[in-house]
């Protein structure tokens, strides 16, 4: 293999690896948003997922159990969000921000209670690569697509699955209609409330899993605020992906590529101070928003609560 080919393969492989938290968090955001629940607590939920996922895999020795508990914790946040907004009809941004604080606080409190303060960081095993027989032998595409950890495969399959559910099944049609016009959906006998609860909970689970990915793949341990804004970027990404599963998958690759590039340049050394390279993902996100906000299709009822007793929407 030539040097250039190795570089490109490595870059693409890392990009697919780094895509996962973006895909999971953004699909979770999209799912809730499709029924009108606009979650803005991603950063906090991801931190809880990272913290809980790490602690549980550390104490049980199983990444699977850790990931499942992280999902459960995320789902709990989704449930609370749905309850406060859909049932109690509180402002979605206010509740989301409150959950963001609680998540951030909990994520840094829990390790101190469970493990305490140690000199060397406690580590969990990172997720192993699972090469797919034969396919992983293909040059470039093989290592990039078929020699990855299980959550890379999962996030790709999940995106396709969500596209199928949302756009090729009756259930998906009903679900989307709740986010577009809850009054009409309600009149047609679609249960607005249960649709909102279910998508919000599943969305929260995916966001929690996105958080658990960070200690389980990148660092092996939990550090305070380790999400570094990925939760907020996921919201922008969801707009970029027009609240649609497949464009979100593509968009995640774009944001992951920028993250990898920014990191590569910082490590590799260049004439630009590393601080400016570390700004890259955030600046890219703002630029992307300039080109997509206001142009991308958004669920009409996004961020609003539905009150069936009100006459107007």
């Amino acid at each position: 293999m030539s040097g250039l080919e190795t570089t490109i393969t490595d870059f693409l492989k890392l990009t697919f690896l780094s895509m996962v938290p973006f895909v999971l968090a953004s699909q979770g955001t999209m799912l809730g948003g499709r029924t009108g629940v606009f979650n803005v607590a991603q950063e906090g939920i991801m931190l809880v997922g990272a913290s809980v996922g790490f602690l549980v895999s550390y104490t049980t020795g199983s990444n699977l159990i850790g990931a499942l508990v992280a999902m459960a914790a995320g789902g709990l946040f989704g449930l609370v969000l749905a309850y406060f907004t859909t049932t109690l009809k509180m402002d979605q941004f206010v509740v989301g921000l409150a959950l963001f604080f609680i998540g951030t606080g909990l994520s840094s409190l829990l390790p101190k209670l469970v493990i305490g303060i140690t000199l060397t960081p406690p580590l969990v095993k990172t997720l192993p690569e699972i090469p797919i027989p034969l396919l992983s032998q293909i040059p470039i595409i093989g290592p990039v697509l078929f020699k990855q950890n299980i959550l890379v495969y999962f996030s790709i399959l999940l995106s396709i699955f969500l596209w199928y559910i949302l756009f090729r099944t009756n259930m998906g049609l009903r679900l989307r209609s709740v986010g577009e016009n809850p009054k009409a959906s309600d009149a047609l006998g679609i249960n607005v409330v249960s649709n909102r609860y279910i998508t919000s909970i599943i969305g929260g689970m995916l966001i929690g899993l996105a958080g658990a990915y960070l200690p389980m793949v990148y660092t092996g341990t939990f550090t305070d605020l380790m999400t570094k804004g990925r939760g907020w970027i996921a919201i922008a990404l969801t707009f970029f992906g027009a609240w649609s599963p497949l464009p979100i998958l593509i968009g995640s690759l774009f944001f992951a590529a920028i993250e990898v590039l920014s990191f590569r340049f910082q490590v590799g050394g260049s004439f630009i101070p590393y601080q400016f390279l570390s700004m890259l993902p955030y600046i890219a996100t703002i630029i992307v928003m300039i080109f997509t906000f206001g142009k991308s299709r958004v669920p009409a009822f996004l961020g609003q609560n539905y009150d069936r007793e009100r006459r107007t929407l």
Partner: protein, 337 residues
């Protein structure tokens, strides 16, 4: 009587949150009564405790106002963190570059530079909202992360203090320091600036026409538009003013407390500022009082960590719970109507 009635939900919310956290503390094997004694009374036991509380009150009030002033027009400024840091950068830069100017010139310049820098950081988000309709929550948060890198760049660049282990700049000129009000324990005059800003915001929002237009925009943007208020300009204006206030918080930390730029100088003030703003239900005039209460909890919380080893994050959980209970009390009130 009505005053007491208004205050009642707050009291119940605080008590309920303390009860939940008390049970949590007890379950973790700490003595909740001892913990609460430390949390609530540290501020009033010693002069030092009280001054510490006032010193926390300054940035908390300012960062909370940075959130509530834009919220008056219905916009969420989550970027006080970045605006505060960029404000501190502006103040430090002027304080170092012109360190030989006399105090009568340097001090106002330092304050002005910081406030302008902070408001510039807010202007970016405001302009993105005005021009491209970009959600201000996202843009202000993203600008926070950019500001962290910016602080790191300034604090490790040519102005770096080589003697400090942590990224820190050399001190600004002594003429740019905020004058000290009380020598021992030391209290700087930042508190005067914070009081002035809090009063100015109160007068502006409750006694002036443009302040009224601001509140109306927040209450009903559509009706305001119909009645000839340029709501988009109101959004822009309120975000920039909020950012200037956050910038002032940065100035005070840089020129009053540390006399230099230190990485992490914003501490957790901006996050608490948001919590305070939400606890005050966005009411600008309630912010200073809520901020004082939270300052007491914060000073008490760190004392508690030192004396009985309870992790300080417990206090953050208590604060978040108080917020949730206050929000819940709104719903109960709505149901009773």
């Amino acid at each position: 009587m009505t005053q007491i009635k208004k205050f009642f939900p707050y009291l119940v919310s605080v008590l309920a949150a303390f009860l939940v956290v008390g049970v949590l503390l007890w379950a973790l094997g700490f003595n909740p009564i001892k913990a609460y004694q430390t949390i609530l009374f540290t501020s009033f036991r010693t002069p030092n405790g009280f001054v510490q509380t006032l010193l926390k009150w300054i940035p908390l009030t300012l960062t909370a106002l940075a959130f509530t002033v834009p919220l008056s027009s219905g916009k969420f400024n989550i970027g006080a963190e970045g605006q505060m840091l960029v404000g501190a950068i502006g103040a430090t830069a002027v304080g170092i570059l012109f360190k030989d100017l006399p105090p009568a010139l340097l001090l106002p310049l330092v304050i002005l530079a910081g406030m302008l820098a902070g408001s510039f950081w807010g202007l970016i988000a405001a302009w993105l909202l005005y021009q491209f309709n970009i959600n201000e929550i996202l843009s202000t948060v993203l600008l926070n992360f950019i500001s962290f890198a910016l602080v790191d760049f300034v604090a490790t660049g040519p102005w770096r203090d080589p003697a400090a282990g942590h990224p820190t700049t050399i001190p600004i000129g002594a003429n740019g320091f905020l004058p000290v009000l009380v020598k021992n324990p030391p209290l700087h005059s930042g508190i005067i600036l914070a009081v002035i800003v809090a009063i100015a915001v109160y007068i502006f929002t409750s006694k002036t026409t443009s302040g009224y237009e601001l509140l109306v925009t927040g209450a009903n943007p559509r009706a305001s538009k119909v009645h000839g208020i340029d709501t988009r300009k109101m959004f822009l204006f309120s975000l920039v003013i909020g950012a200037a206030v956050a910038g002032l918080a940065g100035v005070i930390e840089a020129a009053g407390t540390h006399h230099r730029l230190i990485e992490g100088l914003h501490s957790n003030f901006p996050t608490l500022g948001l919590i305070i703003g939400l606890m005050a239900r966005g009411k600008n005039q309630a912010v200073p009082f809520v901020a004082f209460f939270i300052s007491i909890l914060e000073v008490g919380g760190s004392a508690m960590q030192r004396t009985i080893m309870v992790p300080v994050q417990i206090v953050l959980i208590a604060e978040a719970l108080i917020l949730i209970f206050i929000l819940l009390s709104d719903i109960i009130k709505r149901r009773q109507k």
